[in-house]
Symmetry: D3
Subunit: 330 residues, 6 copies
Amino acid sequence: MAETSHLLSVGDLKSLDTAATGRPFASLLVLKKLAAKTAANGNPFYSVELGDRGGSFNCTVFGDSPVFETLKDAGEGAVVRVEGKVEYYQGRFSPRLGKATALSETELGAPGLLENLVEVAPEDSGQLWSEFNAFIEGISQAELRATVRAVVDEIGDDFKWAPAAVAMHHAYRHGLLEHTVHMARACRALLPLYPEVDPSLAMAGILLHDTGKAIEYEGTLSTKRSRRGILQGHVVLGYQLARKAAIKAKLDADRVERLEHIILSHQGEPEWGAAVYAATPEAVFVSMIDNLDAKMGMVQRALRQANDANEFSERLPGLSSVLLTRPPGA
Amino acid sequence: MAETSHLLSVGDLKSLDTAATGRPFASLLVLKKLAAKTAANGNPFYSVELGDRGGSFNCTVFGDSPVFETLKDAGEGAVVRVEGKVEYYQGRFSPRLGKATALSETELGAPGLLENLVEVAPEDSGQLWSEFNAFIEGISQAELRATVRAVVDEIGDDFKWAPAAVAMHHAYRHGLLEHTVHMARACRALLPLYPEVDPSLAMAGILLHDTGKAIEYEGTLSTKRSRRGILQGHVVLGYQLARKAAIKAKLDADRVERLEHIILSHQGEPEWGAAVYAATPEAVFVSMIDNLDAKMGMVQRALRQANDANEFSERLPGLSSVLLTRPPGA
Amino acid sequence: MAETSHLLSVGDLKSLDTAATGRPFASLLVLKKLAAKTAANGNPFYSVELGDRGGSFNCTVFGDSPVFETLKDAGEGAVVRVEGKVEYYQGRFSPRLGKATALSETELGAPGLLENLVEVAPEDSGQLWSEFNAFIEGISQAELRATVRAVVDEIGDDFKWAPAAVAMHHAYRHGLLEHTVHMARACRALLPLYPEVDPSLAMAGILLHDTGKAIEYEGTLSTKRSRRGILQGHVVLGYQLARKAAIKAKLDADRVERLEHIILSHQGEPEWGAAVYAATPEAVFVSMIDNLDAKMGMVQRALRQANDANEFSERLPGLSSVLLTRPPGA
Amino acid sequence: MAETSHLLSVGDLKSLDTAATGRPFASLLVLKKLAAKTAANGNPFYSVELGDRGGSFNCTVFGDSPVFETLKDAGEGAVVRVEGKVEYYQGRFSPRLGKATALSETELGAPGLLENLVEVAPEDSGQLWSEFNAFIEGISQAELRATVRAVVDEIGDDFKWAPAAVAMHHAYRHGLLEHTVHMARACRALLPLYPEVDPSLAMAGILLHDTGKAIEYEGTLSTKRSRRGILQGHVVLGYQLARKAAIKAKLDADRVERLEHIILSHQGEPEWGAAVYAATPEAVFVSMIDNLDAKMGMVQRALRQANDANEFSERLPGLSSVLLTRPPGA
Amino acid sequence: MAETSHLLSVGDLKSLDTAATGRPFASLLVLKKLAAKTAANGNPFYSVELGDRGGSFNCTVFGDSPVFETLKDAGEGAVVRVEGKVEYYQGRFSPRLGKATALSETELGAPGLLENLVEVAPEDSGQLWSEFNAFIEGISQAELRATVRAVVDEIGDDFKWAPAAVAMHHAYRHGLLEHTVHMARACRALLPLYPEVDPSLAMAGILLHDTGKAIEYEGTLSTKRSRRGILQGHVVLGYQLARKAAIKAKLDADRVERLEHIILSHQGEPEWGAAVYAATPEAVFVSMIDNLDAKMGMVQRALRQANDANEFSERLPGLSSVLLTRPPGA
Amino acid sequence: MAETSHLLSVGDLKSLDTAATGRPFASLLVLKKLAAKTAANGNPFYSVELGDRGGSFNCTVFGDSPVFETLKDAGEGAVVRVEGKVEYYQGRFSPRLGKATALSETELGAPGLLENLVEVAPEDSGQLWSEFNAFIEGISQAELRATVRAVVDEIGDDFKWAPAAVAMHHAYRHGLLEHTVHMARACRALLPLYPEVDPSLAMAGILLHDTGKAIEYEGTLSTKRSRRGILQGHVVLGYQLARKAAIKAKLDADRVERLEHIILSHQGEPEWGAAVYAATPEAVFVSMIDNLDAKMGMVQRALRQANDANEFSERLPGLSSVLLTRPPGA
């Protein structure tokens, strides 16, 4: 693959002006949207959105372009190396693409590559993954531990990469893993204070509560809801994952029902997606920790993106407010 | 069993006054509530609610009464033949029970007996059941037909007896069967008008949409939510019933997902209990027919209970209104 | 009139680029918006939106242009044949118009012409109109039949052309007629199942329930709310139409009140526009059929607009969801 | 009629205890509820609620009692002089009635009589009525003045007696008149400050805005919603009254529409019963004055009922709060 | 004071029946409500509610009774030793009181006395108080520590006794102290996980967030909202307490504002009482811990009150659900 | 300063087209937004929004431009005289600035200058200010008068200039003063009609109710929420201003509490920002007058901006409606 040092980012491309029309360029980009359309003359074409971490642009690829088939095969969410010429349509950057190559999974593993393309959880994903597995091993009730293990065996990789949300909290690569590990840490810290909560059930519930999102969201680099996500929702998908694994792990019927209940109720209110209201100590506990870490995750992301020039962040929809980003006494 | 002609109804008992104190009586009643309590002296006693179709009354049964064990074994929802003496507590009818016998399932089958004890669907339940089975047979897609059949084989009897709700529409014995058959009739009538709706999927969805209620509600004669009903809700319970049966019936994956989706979305809005919004033509169709027949079921019940002296019914919570019960031009 | 074969559609015009600046063109377009403004120098000008079924564009027409008076006389919603030259303003297509002629009502009747300009109900409007009239004739109660006839005599043509909504369901030419006929078909199919519903009242209620929209919406080809629509709303306007016609038809007072009530309550909830909650069997029935067909109309339109490349439609606001547009087993 | 000095009030009767059983008494009472029922033996009887300003009690009147026909003829809301004997049923005062006579309208006019039976507006109703008529005469636009006059000619007496609400503000005899006059006073005071408001339209709108309530509520002394009130609501009823009168008074079409609009929109929000949102200066103005005086009416009533021993009133649902009833500095 | 062994509890009194009429008794009770009324003859009397932990009853005390003045002086919330005779009014226990003595604060301190009269926090209040003070000492930022100390110096005793709510969570004696200490424990456990949260600010915010409730609720043994509580609410009252103390403690302006903000925003949403949305990391953190511990406090109380005979608790309004009270695997 | 006759307004600049590229110009503009950013090469630059009453445009100012420091020192909300050359970026007007000078406060006072830059209250601000002070002098209770005077002494100038809102009613320069004076006029007009309202308290409450907005909004010419506004909100800020002033003025405790309560409750409902519900006659009265004048202020502004060509205004969010802007009978 060509040296990335010669590749222009979206920011670079957008800093050009119309004087650059016709200039050749190469870039490494995520195929964010690929919408098939038909021209007035009946010919197929694609309306394409390409982007990296710094933004995105749109262009059109006609059916007779060699790029057409490459993008079609690669699909939304693929990472492509494109070459093209600078052009403008209605005053907006809209290049003519001459060549496109999709990167393989192996190529995607190159150090630093993904970080330029998408927002990634700030903690190291490898360490988060180890910690996640250590939390599984720490569950003392054997069948609950085996249940969580069985779910992770089934959806582990998707879980590892998924964001925790499309738009609200932890909405970035590995965000789901990060949010789950953060909740597990909070759970461990709080369990001594709430002895009425069964530790194994609460921890298993936390580790599994959002696993349905590994199915609900699809695409490695563009996040959209899958068919199963639309038709069933992550709450029911996670319930089904847990149920199947629990039966396989021979978990007793009472705990199966309680574990399923934690997943079904963790969204809190029916209008936020809960199938039922939390009705066990563990379900109330998990639901509250989920809420706490989701909100604190929004705070943490806003602080990472904070700008010295502004005392407050942009408005954060999940908090219904801007956030003061300077530390006290600063 | 004693002739029912000598049994006093709740209405009969309440028409007595304190002059009747001490008079012996016998009645056939449903054990509606049985709450265990402990007296100041440490002795156990039951606060008991007994009733029939016309109302109910409360009384107390102490731990040393022979009635105590009978009621304990019978449990809430049982039908008991009681004998006792008329007494009043704080001006309210509150008899002293001397004897109680629980009826067997066989005895409950005696003609006309249940109708005196609980509200029953106005249509004959045997005919509703035959019609329900005929609707199953009428599903042309074989695996969908087999799926519905498998669910009904699993929960048929409970389904046949269950009310459609605790308090809103079709909230009476066989109400769930009646509501389902009414929806199937409406479905058959409307399918020719909406050709984009797949007939087999829609009919299977209707026949199964509320089957989770056969698990959510428990008790033959008193309706309350079961543990599984509280912890999972009828939507998820019905989804699970359908999923298991569909896999057994080897239904193709596409239709499994669509059938599950109809059940998961039939409540319409998340705040009314839907796991997801309806996102297939069949799911929208079933959800709307459910709403139509639920509301018309409230109308039909109010008309059955209408009283010549009043032009309007009592306020019907499900309609947010009273209902004009006289026919036009009357 | 010039041959339409040489007329460019909005899609054609938008596929041009700045290289075409200055090129003459002719198009047949709807005058969608006409906003009078005053330039800094005090001269009047119009900000104009012109469009067809495929989109729209904006341009400016100054007071000294011959086009100015033509557009002023034609008014919003008129169909105009324009000639002009391709120009761009701030990178957007914004032609300079040199000539404009408004089409007469007769010219608008030319086959296929309107279909290119606005979205039209998929069923033939002539057949819908015949079926609508047959439903009127099918009302057995004579005065109710005469009432419906009298309303249609008063607002028939507007009713025939109106959309059923500005933005939600059946929001296209003849959409109101189509929605009403679809409801009447559903009513006919369901009446045998709900014998407590008076057939004449229910059918008259359906045929009249939305007639106020023929007054609420105005403009043949652009839909906007009229002054009366803003100040009174279609519910009260329809009630008034029915009341006047019913008195003329000597309908008995009891049925007048019930018919008015169906119209006043058909929106279901006060926050959706109902003046009162439905409080008669017929009003509940009509309100539920309205809801059913409105939702199914959204489904039908999304299926018509479905695209082979996408499994799901765009998000449909009225369903709060995307829609799976492929048939089962496909 | 017997001297009222010997008549016992509900308070007097309730202060008796069971030792008084059998004692004869006479009272002047409002027939608040009259529910026809059928005893187990098939005989008709009435469940009766009788009351005065200080409370109410229930008793039973059987079909063979001479009182039965008297109450049936008198109907709910009548004032009756009853004679009977003190009895208790289940510990509650529940007399046996031996004789009942309904008062004529003339007898009802006896000074002080009604004040003992129902809550009455604190201002003199005769003076309020004069002031109301003076406000009509003060409308300078002649046709608007005639329109208001025509409505009042049609429903004047009912308007004069009606409460302004069943349960919220000004919910007492003459309350509607009082509230309307108070709003007219506020209108007169505020008009100089809001010159964009047309005085004649605003005043006519205020005088007519709630006239539909004279039809919506029925019964001289017990307030319940009439059939027309349930099926149409006071907003539409008032609109219809105004429309008919305006046409009779030859009011110009523009003002007819604006006057109707004030009535249709005065409830503010659709969920509070408005048919449309206020969209003229006069409609916004009237709606705000209505809200102001309704809330201040709740304050005034709470102050009238204030009790020296308590600093705060009971919770007032219309204010979502208790009210501090002592003056500042007290 | 008389030996408590001869005192009858409310439960004892209610287990009596009318046969006990006239029997003398003595009880130690809380004066829960004291409503001044005027009899028809103009004489003053009190409608009195007396109760203990097991329930309450009503009786009437006339102005010429020696008890009248005692109760008047004692006021709502006092603990009184009453002597009287068993009587019934309308079938309900309603004794005639002959003597009443209010207990002094010293007498109230007798071991075990209060626990019989009101619900008390399950943890020892002395230890909670020590732990609360240790949390103050643990605040490392000196001025924040001094600020918290100054508030506690001002309202400490009221704070120590107050419930955390009238009806929702921790609604019992010392409940506010208990809830605050529980939150402080959770804060200490979670701080290492959220390093962006300033420890001193968060802990000071938690210790002060609800101090306004020590003013909002009044009465040692009956909880009702004070005049200041009604007119200002605990959020503003707590803000004012903190502001005054912070200025006294010379806390820097930046931290004063942040501390005030935590108090002003801790209720989360404006409709739940927040003056503003949380807009600092510490405010989000405190608000989430408040929510977590409030919900877990409802769980803990329901578990304490659990009954072996019932698998589920009564419905808990704060959780919108019943709660499964048996531990897993039981 | 250069003659304003040669200065181009934003409207003038936007009427230019790309043919004017490179043309020099000078303008007097408000610095509406100034966002510090860092270019890919690490250099700082400002994204700048400049505007006047007729609109705004964006441009970029790099760190090495002499304009950079001027804008940095001036800050958002400053008025600057800029000179530059016409340029376009992506088809939008985006000039290159060569010179910028901030105007002094004295220069801002030049007649007519501000009116061209920002929307200003239609009434003369000097006269409004005199009237406002006369209302203060008219408060008969001396300490209340002194309290209002003390608040105005503290925040008078900010109060005089502030808008009453960022986006809803009276959202323009002096809007807060204008709204307050209008409310005071309405108060004076209505007080004779509601004698239960204490005139001094009500008037003081009105004059102070929104004074917190003088702190909540900052910037002379661009309105944004200040740090204190975000962290505390105008309700609490106004309460604090009044409290401090009242203590200084030695107002009695009862009136302090009532005055504070008016401010804390004037927003009506908690979800609209009220700290508590209005619970005194004066608080209900002030809250209702606030609502009345806020809505009428929206009406007045829409009428000022009305356009002969359109019968209705644009949709007014605060009224949830368009407004009919022609007078009746016109």
